[in-house]
């Protein structure tokens, strides 16, 4: 039954001239497509060289992971299941239809000519082929319709192209919208015309029985037949429809490299090249400085080929834009616009054919800086200094763009140009001279230990099991010092063999590096590695997630390779070992704020939650938690800069988020900077009677019986009464 008659005739009704014309146009379209790719490749070849391969084994594993993520749409689905589902529908619909067309081309133009006896487009193959393509066509069209609905009706803030750094009047991004609509609409028309061509064909062929395996076409054919199209009528209509569909398809192929459609090719590659250490381990300054000796990413030519590919990969999905704490607090930075500005600049400066509808917009072309320098020019100093390096953009990006290393690279140039605010300059000078940003004598670093009944071992003199790297804020900040002493007491209570470097320790340099002060980072890291190398210990522990990041991911490259733990990881281990015991379960509702450098950089989210469980706290999650946490605004050196120009500090937005949780009294965190930031934010928002900011250790100390619990806040509590009295007196 499924014999050679079960097929359809390719190019049926087309004259030999018509067929020739089709092949000429197809060749032209494919030529334009490859020319477009060549132009893109030439652009990447202009980028600075960067080794993205390292070891082949690691590279292949990473590439497979990236391609797997692209195939499964995991990064698109993350936190947006609607977009994830329908994007996958469009993508797989398109991919299968494309493969189908490719198979037909192989059968017709290769097998049919070279070895006609192997011609396979008939019988069972034809039936299955018809069915699969018919089904996936529907999947694609449904996906496109849902995405069109999402854009038109769902009012997603991430799809608002408004800029945070430019007045609306000076921004014209209607071209972006036209480009988006053209892309989506083109695919939709392609899909729909495909079905119409099929339906008309089936109707005119008088409904061969096996065409029921193309159900959509079959039903459409019936509808057309009812309208009088069928049998031998209107062969011109069929031809015209066929040509319409063919021209749309050939045009689309040519359009791909010059449009948003490029992401179909570029983004799987970009995901495959994604570095798992992006932002976590920043690149060292290039060994070969440019001819004029400038440092950092100052000009377009300083960006690497991978960064140029990053910029081209952006689909303007806006997930980074809505995740960014700078953009959310009114700072003139949006990771999306930074990437788009750089892309437009690269395309304009190097006369690359830019994606249609993206030319001539915004500041990239508007302020006469085209062709000038990028860091401090096209991307202004205030924009670059706004970044908290919280990594939310990199984490949210579905296509593997690495914003933070690019921003830090440009900051290196700002430091080189001396474009930094006086407060930051003072902090860096203090760090260079005294090893801390507080301007305190480095010799007083361990002064916080003075209040302890049991002194803390000097790890430079005695071998210890655990080397506790205390960090700047834990050592010098008055609010944090209390928590630091509690850490010491809890460790002592658990009979932990630990010691500190005392005045031998200096700032670990994580945020110094992210400010862009690479030389100072090297100086601090070399000093600390020198001190640590002289001490005898098995593992390092720190309360500071920033220190944790640089010691875990960056020190090894500088010769300091140790096993580094966050204290939350050590605490839960001590609980499990029975060395810490909950004497008085906390029994109240708390929320936990994931520090960016703990949750996103080091991916530690479970340990602090387990500690809270171990001490009998009832954890209520904030809407944004774990890897989706929201920054306090202090990272990347922001804590050394003025934040008074912000509309609403990220930390204030965050405590409001926590205050909306019913019955939650404690805002718990596990980062010294968070403790200071959120303590200030609770005061600034007037939530003092509602929330108390606590370090994890403060609750552990209470639960293990080491410290006396402070009264809970609340309308009737003494704490609130005292706060109210203070407010009246003040």
């Amino acid at each position: 039954m499924l014999d050679r008659s079960v097929t359809r005739i390719v190019f049926e009704g087309l004259s030999p001239e018509g067929e020739l014309l089709f092949y000429v146009l197809a060749t032209l379209s494919i030529g334009v497509f490859f020319a477009g790719l060549a132009i893109k490749l030439r652009k990447y070849l202009r980028g600075r060289r960067e080794d993205r391969i390292g070891s082949w084994r690691g590279f292949l594993a990473g590439a497979l992971r990236g391609l797997g993520a692209a195939a499964a749409n995991t990064t698109v689905r993350k936190r947006d299941p609607f977009a994830g589902l329908f994007h996958a529908a469009v993508m797989w619909g398109f991919v299968v239809l494309f493969i189908g067309t490719a198979i037909l081309t192989i059968d017709t133009d290769i097998v049919g000519i070279v070895a006609p006896q192997y011609h396979f487009f008939w019988g069972a193959f034809y039936v299955v082929y018809s069915f699969v393509l018919d089904a996936l066509g529907v999947v694609m069209i449904v996906g496109l319709a849902a995405m069109a609905y999402r854009r038109a009706r769902m009012k997603k803030p991430q799809l608002d192209y408004g800029r945070v750094d430019l007045a609306e009047a000076s921004t014209d991004r209607r071209g972006f919208l036209r480009g988006d609509r053209l892309f989506l609409g083109w695919l939709l028309v392609l899909g729909v015309t495909g079905y119409i061509v099929e339906g008309v064909r089936i109707a005119q062929d008088d409904f061969p029985w096996f065409e029921v395996f193309a159900p959509v076409g079959y039903v459409l054919g019936r509808a057309f037949a009812a309208l009088g199209v069928g049998g031998g009528t209107a062969p011109e209509l069929r031809l015209a429809l066929w040509w319409g569909h063919a021209l749309l398809a050939l045009g689309f192929v040519a359009y791909i490299p010059f449009s948003k459609a490029f992401h179909m090719l570029g983004d799987p590659v970009n995901l495959a090249l994604r570095s798992p250490l992006a932002g976590r381990r920043l690149p060292v300054l290039p060994a070969v400085a440019p001819a004029d000796g400038h440092l950092g990413l100052r000009d377009l030519a300083d960006f690497s080929w991978k960064q140029l590919l990053d910029f081209d990969s952006c689909t303007k999905c806006g997930r980074c834009h809505v995740a960014c704490p700078a953009a959310a607090s009114g700072a003139p930075l949006s990771p999306r616009d930074l990437v788009l500005d750089l892309r437009q600049q690269a395309d304009a400066a190097w006369a690359v054919l830019a994606p249609g509808h993206e030319r001539r917009s915004d500041r990239a072309y508007g302020n006469g800086r085209t062709g000038g320098q990028v860091a401090g020019g096209l991307i202004g100093p205030r924009t670059l200094w706004s970044c908290t390096t919280c990594l939310a953009c990199v984490e949210a990006c579905p296509v593997g763009i690495e914003h933070v290393p690019a921003i830090v690279g440009m900051r290196r140039s700002l430091i080189d140009q001396g474009e930094l605010e006086p407060m930051l300059q003072t902090a860096l000078t203090n760090l260079a001279k005294q090893g801390n940003s507080f301007g305190q004598s480095g010799r007083t670093r361990a002064k916080w230990t003075e209040g302890l009944a049991t002194p803390v071992t000097d790890a430079r003199r005695e071998p210890v099991d655990w080397l506790w790297f205390v960090g700047d804020f834990a050592s010098f900040d008055a609010r944090v010092q209390g928590a630091t002493r509690l850490v010491a007491r809890v460790f002592q209570d658990a009979a932990l063999d630990f010691g500190i470097l005392h005045e031998g320790e200096r700032n670990a340099g994580n945020d110094v590096r992210r400010v862009g002060e690479e030389g100072l980072f090297e100086m601090l890291a070399e000093h600390n590695i020198g001190q640590l190398s002289k001490a005898t210990f098995r593992r390092v522990v720190t309360t500071d997630p920033h220190t944790l990041n640089t010691m875990r991911f960056e020190y090894p490259a500088l010769g300091g390779d140790w096993s580094v733990w966050h204290y939350s990881e050590l605490l839960i281990w001590l609980f499990r070992e029975g060395r810490l015991r909950t004497e008085r379960p906390l029994g109240r509702r708390v929320t936990y704020h994931d520090p960016c450098y703990l949750a996103r950089y080091s991916k530690v989210t479970q340990a602090p939650r387990e500690v809270l469980e171990a001490i009998g706290a009832e954890l209520v999650e904030m809407p944004r938690n774990r890897a989706n946490t929201f920054c306090c605004g202090a990272g990347g050196g922001r804590i050394w800069m003025d934040d008074s120009m912000l509309r609403e500090r990220p930390s204030e937005q965050r405590v409001r988020e926590a205050a909306a949780l019913e019955g939650v009294t404690d805002f718990v965190t596990a980062c010294p900077k968070d403790l200071t930031m959120y303590s200030a934010a609770v005061k600034a928002t007037g939530l003092e009677g509602r929330l108390v900011v606590r370090d994890l250790i403060e609750l552990v100390a209470v639960a293990t019986g080491l410290a006396i619990d402070e009264p809970e806040p609340g309308p009737e509590s003494p704490a609130a009464a005292a706060a109210a009295a203070g407010a009246t007196a003040g």
Partner: protein
């Protein structure tokens, strides 16, 4: 315009200062040194003037063992040349320093010599005037807003007096100026550059006499005695007044 800047380092006040065993000097063994703030202003003014009028900036520091870092920082900020002067075990008194600098300046072309108006570790503000005297050049101290006149023959400078009165002075060049502050915050020297320059930069060296002698001898140095602390009087005006009267009475300063 050939600009020369005279600089030195002073103790970092972040440290707790200690007196050494002799009781006449600071304990310098572990001391952290920073560039004298006013010298930093002088350098910034020099760099600004060079960027306006062209020419070059030469930085001079007495070679006391730590001059390399100081001068590398100057170069990192954009100075054109760095010269170490003489050879000293420690920072000498102002007369000796001025004589050494004057000797060095005899071999360094200069249209304008800038130095910080004073330093926190001697507070005599003498180096500028003494250098000027040695070189027989005009001198103005405590200046701001330096502007080079046409042809580079003279400069106008501001001196700010008490009560906010500002005088504008014109001084013939070459001259020596003691700088009070710079028009902008002194620029930052990226540590990458400083470190690179400490390894690679070629610094000049000029021999200079190491004796000059101010005729002054430090007989003793001491930290201020810490008092027992202050009692803060709080509450309403009446309560404060009552407590005040009570205290005065306790001390026998009030009768009846």
């Amino acid at each position: 315009m050939e600009l020369a800047v005279l600089l030195k380092q002073v103790p970092d006040l972040a440290e707790e200062l200690e007196i050494d065993a002799s009781g006449t000097d600071l304990e310098r063994e572990w001391m952290t040194l920073v560039t004298n703030e006013f010298d930093d202003y002088a350098l910034e003014e020099a760099l600004q003037l060079r960027d306006e009028a062209g020419g070059s900036v030469t930085c001079l520091a007495l070679d006391t063992g730590s001059a390399d870092e100081l001068l590398a920082t100057c170069l990192a900020k954009g100075a054109d040349r760095a010269i170490k002067v003489g050879s000293f075990e420690r920072q000498p008194d102002s007369h000796t320093a001025a004589r050494a600098f004057a000797t060095a300046l005899g071999r360094v072309p200069h249209d304008l010599v800038l130095t910080g108006v004073q330093a926190i570790d001697d507070l005599d503000g003498q180096v500028g005037p003494l250098v000027a005297a040695e070189l027989d050049l005009p001198h103005v101290s405590v200046v701001t807003h330096i502007a080079i006149g046409p042809g580079g023959r003279a400069a106008t400078v501001n001196q700010e007096y008490a009560g906010g009165v500002v005088a504008e002075l014109e001084v013939d060049l070459p001259a020596v100026l003691g700088v009070q502050t710079s028009r902008v915050t002194p620029r930052y020297a990226p540590v990458s550059r400083v470190r690179q320059l400490m390894k690679t930069a070629e610094m000049g060296h000029v021999e200079a006499p190491t004796d000059g002698g101010s005729g002054l001898v430090v007989e003793a140095m001491a930290l201020p005695q810490t008092g027992a602390g202050a009692e803060m009087l709080g509450g309403g005006a009446d309560a404060v007044a009552d407590r005040l009267v009570a205290i005065l009475r306790e001390r026998g300063l009030l009768k009846a």
